[in-house]
Subunit: 78 residues, 2 copies
C-alpha cells in the first residue's frame, strides 16, 4: 500500500518519518502550500522527525474524492 | 493566566487561534525556528486557524525548566 489508512470510515491518515525536525518542518510547509493552492486543509501533527497528516471533508464530516486527491498530492511533495 | 496548562504533571499545552491557515502555518515556522535555535522541540498540531503546542523533556519524560522557558519564548513569537 501507499501508507494511507482509512480510519473509522471517516478520515485518512498517514505518518511520514524524517531524519530530523528541519526536514519534517520543510515537508509541513510543502503540504501547507498545497493545501492553500487547492483550499483543502489537512490537520498536520509535526514532531521531531515525524509528520502525521489527517484528512477529511469538514462539510460532510467524512471522506470525499478531494481527500483522496489531496492524499496522492501530498505524497508527491515528500 | 497565560494560557499554558500543565497536563498530568507531565507536559505543557497551549492552544493558539488564528484567522486562517496561513497565519497558523507562519506561527508554526516561527516556533520551529525557535526550537532549532534552542534544540528543544515541541509537538506541534497545526489545523486551519489553530496551533496547539505540547512541550515536555523527553530525556526525563516530564517537565523541566527548559519547557517553561520554551513556553514563554513561544508566546513572544506569536
Amino acid at each position: 500500500g501507499n501508507g494511507w489508512q482509512v480510519i473509522h470510515e471517516h478520515h485518512l491518515e498517514k505518518d511520514y518519518k524524517f531524519k530530523n525536525f528541519k526536514e519534517a518542518l520543510a515537508f509541513t510547509n510543502r503540504v501547507g502550500e498545497l493545501a492553500e493552492q487547492v483550499n483543502h486543509h489537512p490537520d498536520i501533527y509535526l514532531a521531531w522527525g515525524e509528520v502525521k497528516l489527517t484528512l477529511w471533508t469538514h462539510k460532510i464530516d467524512g471522506l470525499t474524492e478531494s481527500d483522496f486527491v489531496f492524499a496522492a498530492k501530498a505524497d508527491t511533495v515528500l
